[in-house]
């Protein structure tokens, strides 16, 4: 064999043409989807590192997961420059200048707990105050002024209680806690001991106990998925979704095939049927839900009709908390009415792609109408049915508006409704995302299943 000497050049134009579409896909489909996936499995506040010293730059000794119980061993206040976070535990320190007992002018820092503010500027800046009296017996009656805004700094001076001071400067300090785990339930290194800023620690009672409120480092976690699986609505939601699918899809496909056969029969005026059958395709699913609600509701058409012909004396309630089966029946009817026509349209187009002569040949060789349907049309419709099945199954996993309109989403709930509930009612973005991912995985799995189960390619590549 001689290798070909001329290399085939790949045409570039198709790739250039497809580039905008790829960018669009990446920006508006790929990115949000990946973000959604990440939300379901990644907790960006999972663990809190404990530091060697009370300072942001200090070395990490190890991490504690969110919610770990803690014992507070010590606390320290650190100066914050500028940035203030709302959930910060802070201490205000004042730099004061005053005359001490010896009439010497002294200057130094004191915590706000030691100074009573007597005078403020219009914008609230403290200008002057007095030193507070110490109440505890046996304590040093004098208040210490420190060289810097820290109790570990050197003493600058001491002031008597009620000494008038001028406040020349203020400083805000954040509390840091030296903590160690106090928790038997979580599997953490119990000997760990380190510093953490107050903003990530929740303190109980007198300040000896606390827990890790939220972490600063993210971690992949199955927590949200577990939470979804343990959710009391999860079981009912997916069981109802599957139940609806099992009730709707087979009936829908039989109906759609029959409708398509009616249209394909080309009897007189069958095109009118096509238009009539197609009406539901133009209606939004919520509108269909409301339409069927008006049929089934207390003084709706069905009750009026039954009363009118004397079958019942007073309106029955079909859509109440006690009539779950009626709600399901109403949903099935509404979905059948709404979504059968799209299946029909796909099957009609499939039927039209079967050459007339093929069907005539079958007829000529003695196949009755139903034999032609069974042996010729249905096998040749397999690609169309496959497409319709994939489409309908994916849409069935997403069923939502009709369920909400007819059942309110409480008695009968579905996966999409739970996604909605977690996101809006419970404000639990991560679990909502887990639900959404669950629906996505079911959809992908069903599409693969149909592509495998309804094999078509090898036998219909050409006709």
């Amino acid at each position: 064999m001689v290798a070909p000497t001329v290399k085939r050049r790949r045409p570039l134009t198709p790739y250039l043409l497809i580039a905008p579409a790829l960018l669009f896909l990446a920006a508006f489909f790929g990115y949000p989807m990946v973000q959604g996936l990440i939300l379901a499995v990644y907790d960006d506040e999972a663990v809190l590192p404990l530091l060697e010293d009370p300072g942001i730059e200090a070395e990490s000794l190890g991490t504690l997961p969110q919610g770990t119980g803690l014992t507070v061993l010590d606390q320290r206040a650190n100066l914050i420059d500028g940035e203030l976070t709302s959930d910060l535990l802070t201490e205000e320190w004042f730099k004061v200048s005053a005359l001490d007992s010896n009439d010497q002018t002294v200057e130094g820092w004191a915590p706000e707990t030691r100074i009573r503010i007597r005078e403020e500027a219009d914008d609230g800046t403290p200008l002057a105050g007095t030193v507070r009296t110490k109440l505890a017996a046996g304590a040093d009656p004098q208040t210490t002024l420190f060289q810097e805004a820290s109790e570990s700094a050197d003493t600058a001076a001491k002031l008597d209680a009620r000494t008038r001071v001028r406040i020349v400067d203020t400083a805000t300090l954040e509390l840091w806690f030296l903590v160690t785990p106090q928790d038997d339930e979580t599997e953490v290194d119990q000997s760990l001991e380190g510093w953490a800023p107050s903003r990530f620690i929740q303190i109980f009672g007198e300040g000896e106990l606390g827990r890790v409120d939220r972490g600063t480092e993210g971690q992949f976690t199955s927590r949200f998925i577990e939470k979804m699986a343990e959710d009391r609505f999860f079981g009912p939601a997916w069981r109802t979704t599957l139940l609806l699918m099992v009730l709707i899809l087979p009936v829908q496909f039989v109906l759609a095939t029959l409708m398509a056969l009616v249209i394909h029969a080309r009897l007189k005026a069958t095109s009118i049927f096509l238009y009539i059958y197609s009406i539901p395709m133009g209606m939004s699913d919520l509108a269909v839900g409301i339409l069927f609600f008006s049929l089934f509701t207390g003084n709706g058409f069905i009750n009026s009709f039954l009363e009118g012909i004397g079958l019942i004396d007073e309106p029955r309630s079909f859509l109440s908390i006690d009539t779950r089966n009626w709600i399901i029946a109403a949903i099935v009817l509404a979905e059948l009415w709404r979504a059968t026509s799209i299946v029909m349209v796909i099957i009609v187009s499939g039927l039209q792609s079967i050459p007339d002569e093929t069907l005539e040949a079958a007829e000529l060789f003695g196949a009755s109408y139903w034999q032609r349907v069974r042996y010729i049309m249905l096998p040749l419709l397999r690609p169309s049915i496959q497409v319709a099945l994939i489409l309908r199954t994916i849409l069935a996993f997403q069923v939502f508006a009709v369920v909400i309109a007819l059942g309110g989403g409480e008695v009968v709930t579905v996966l999409a409704n739970e996604t909605y509930r977690q996101y809006f009612a419970l404000r639990n973005t991560n679990v909502a995302s887990a639900y959404a991912v669950f629906i996505l995985l079911l959809s992908i799995a069903s599409a693969f299943f149909y592509l495998r189960a309804v094999r078509t390619q090898d036998e219909l590549s050409s006709t």
């Binding site: 050459p355 093929t358 005539e360 007829e363 000529l364 060789f365 009755s368 096998p379 219909l460």
Partner: protein, 367 residues
């Protein structure tokens, strides 16, 4: 016995007749070719026999049984379609056996007959394959095998060879002829190819605008066309037509054409010719019926050759005679070139006399 009788069959699409009052009898085991240009209604007539489009008037009888309103499946017929209409989702074996399965034939019998049909068409090794990866010729064979496996007494073929390339068509033509002689079915074969019709048919029915013009054996249709259309549609090159005026001279009747050329008639002219003296007349003559010679001859017309087309087995000369353009075929050894003068003889017994008004050939009883 499966004689097909088509009695007064008409088929109307909208307000035009696709087939108008067709009457045909196809004898048992006969091979009848329905020939005509596209749109002449030949396929429509075939479909009326098949039951794929009911006749709007008239009757179709197969083997003495009135099948006019029977569905195709109950007519005991079998058919080869123009597009082959093979079922793409079935193997060749299932395709060939389809009709037998529908009629609830036993499995062993189906297998036997499928194998038999496949053997006839030499496609035994294709039986387990699907049509998708087969060539046009192979599919054609499958379609024929499917029709033969039914062993119906009536076989209908709708332009079965028109989708094949020329060489394959030639090959299949001979093979189909052999096969149909073997299976002894009464056959209606639709084609627009006059060579196919001449070479295959026991009889040819020529159709035009929904009306059957003539139904006769190939040789008769070729040499004794009933009208100008049949003469011009059959044969390659088509029949020549020469316009002239009928005159009576001392020797008998002559046709005066062009600048005073006189073409004599035989003594046994049709009676219908007599009253037409001094009236316009049209002569029809086949290209190979004329005799050309390089030397002047008795009763020959002096003409000038305008075009010479060598076709291998023959040379086709184009000659202008008055306002008429003639195609004359000569033996390749007759060496001529354009512009040369030759002498053309029109043998009186080969001349067909045509009424220019209704284009019917006089004396054939077409009137």
């Amino acid at each position: 016995m499966a004689e097909i009788r088509i009695e007064g069959v008409s088929k109307v699409f909208g307000d035009t007749y696709a087939v108008r009052n067709a009457n045909l009898t196809i004898h048992d085991q006969e091979f009848l070719v329905l020939l005509g240009p596209s749109g002449c209604g030949k396929t429509t007539l075939l479909r009326a026999v098949a039951g794929l489009g009911m006749a709007d008037a008239g009757q179709v009888l197969i083997g003495g049984r009135d099948v006019t309103y029977l569905p195709p499946g109950e007519r005991k017929i079998s058919m080869v379609f123009q597009s082959y209409a093979i079922f793409p989702h079935m193997t060749v074996r299932d395709n060939i056996g389809f009709g037998l399965r529908m009629s609830k034939t036993s499995k062993t019998e189906i297998k036997r007959r499928v194998d038999e049909a496949a053997e006839l068409l030499h496609i035994e090794d294709l039986l387990e394959r699907r049509p998708a990866d087969m060539s046009g010729g192979q599919r054609q064979r499958v379609a024929v095998a499917r029709a033969l496996a039914m062993q119906a007494e009536v076989l209908l073929m709708d332009e079965p060879l028109s989708n094949l390339d020329a060489l394959l068509r030639l090959e299949m033509r001979a093979e189909l002829k052999r096969l149909l002689r073997e299976v002894k079915a009464t056959t209606i074969y639709v084609t627009h190819d006059q060579i196919e019709a001449l070479s295959m048919g026991d009889r040819i029915a020529v159709m035009r605008d929904g009306v059957i013009q003539q139904c006769d054996e190939p040789a008769t249709v070729y040499s004794e066309p009933v009208n100008q259309f049949v003469g011009s549609f059959i044969g390659n090159p088509p029949m020549n037509f020469i316009d002239g005026v009928l005159r009576r001279v001392d020797t008998g009747l002559v046709a005066e054409v062009g600048d005073g050329f006189q073409i004599p008639a035989t003594s046994e002219v049709p009676d219908e010719l007599m009253p037409r003296v001094d009236a316009p007349i049209r002569l029809g003559i086949r290209a190979e019926s004329m005799v050309t010679s390089a030397e002047p001859a008795e009763g020959a017309i002096e003409v000038v050759i305008s075009v010479v087309e060598p076709l291998g087995a023959q040379n086709l000369l184009t000659i202008d005679l008055g306002d008429n353009r003639l195609k004359v075929s000569t033996h390749p050894s007759f060496d001529v070139r354009p512009g040369q003068t030759v002498w053309l003889q029109l043998p009186a017994e080969q001349i067909r006399w045509i009424d220019p008004a209704d284009e019917l050939v006089l004396g054939t009883g077409a009137r």
